[in-house]
Symmetry: C2
Subunit: 164 residues, 2 copies
């Protein structure tokens, strides 16, 4: 399955929202309120320039996942980018997350960022942790009991980082 990455437009939101909502409602991987309202979610995910949101699509145009990318800090740390990723669970395990991750790193380099920092990677989200490690990120620290998992209770919250 080929995975193509393109700019997200407002017309993509109805395709993104169902799987984004399911992932957020599950509450196992993202530090968003589990009852996130659609309008709030859209504003948080569909970012205006100079931030950016993309979708991963297959040859038929089906949306498989999405990523947003933005500055992580302001001022003297505005050279550090951040990014967030949502992959439709029915298309998991097919390289969609990796394609989005590689795209986001290339974007950050092209925009002149010097590093990318993920502020909150739940340690039990082992698929994501392994993917980011394979893309050159390091676990800089793990905040003890930093995340309340709905099934596993308090677990660690990784901060991951890579210089570009």
């Amino acid at each position: 399955m080929a995975v193509l990455i393109r700019e997200a437009t407002a017309a993509d939101w109805p395709a993104i929202w169902p799987f984004l909502r399911a992932i957020v409602e599950a509450g196992e991987t993202y530090t968003y309120p589990r009852d996130l309202e659609e309008s709030v979610a859209r504003d948080m995910w569909m970012l205006p320039a100079p931030s950016r949101t993309v979708v991963a699509v297959d040859e038929a145009g089906t949306v498989l996942g999405s990523a947003k990318m933005n500055p992580n800090h302001m001022g003297g740390s505005s050279h550090i980018a951040s990014a967030s990723f949502m992959v439709d669970p029915q298309y998991g395990g097919r390289g969609v997350g990796r394609a989005l991750g590689e795209h986001v790193l290339a974007w950050a380099r092209a925009e002149g960022y010097r590093a990318m920092q993920f502020n909150a990677v739940v340690e039990t989200n082992t698929v994501a942790v392994a993917l980011w490690k394979s893309l050159g990120f390091q676990i800089m620290t793990t905040l003890p009991e930093g995340f309340q998992h709905p099934i596993k209770g308090y677990v660690g919250l990784h901060i991951m980082y890579r210089q570009l």
Copy 2:
């Protein structure tokens, strides 16, 4: 010099803005844009409930410093608080930062937070780093070249944390 901590009101802003602006313009300790506009600064600093902003004052009512406190994350990590501190440089070295820090930790405990995380402590801000350590915070990691200091160039950016 006695240092009293009380709620900040809109009437305190004109006393806070001059030293906050000077600290931000210097660009050595905070990840804010150095040319921060007053209206943006006020919205960032004077936080509505459930976040909170306080001022430190002396017996005559002179504002010596200010702190704001707020959730650091949402959802499954909403039990982690954050806080920011500004002390008027002309009143430095008199325990104002410590009084604000102790107040903020007591607030976070009373509000039911389980930890406090500082996202961006510039490693060359050694007075602040020593103060937070003395209040029980640990340097969890230092993002290499995470902050561009106007004089010292790229320096590390600490993430500090303490459980409550």
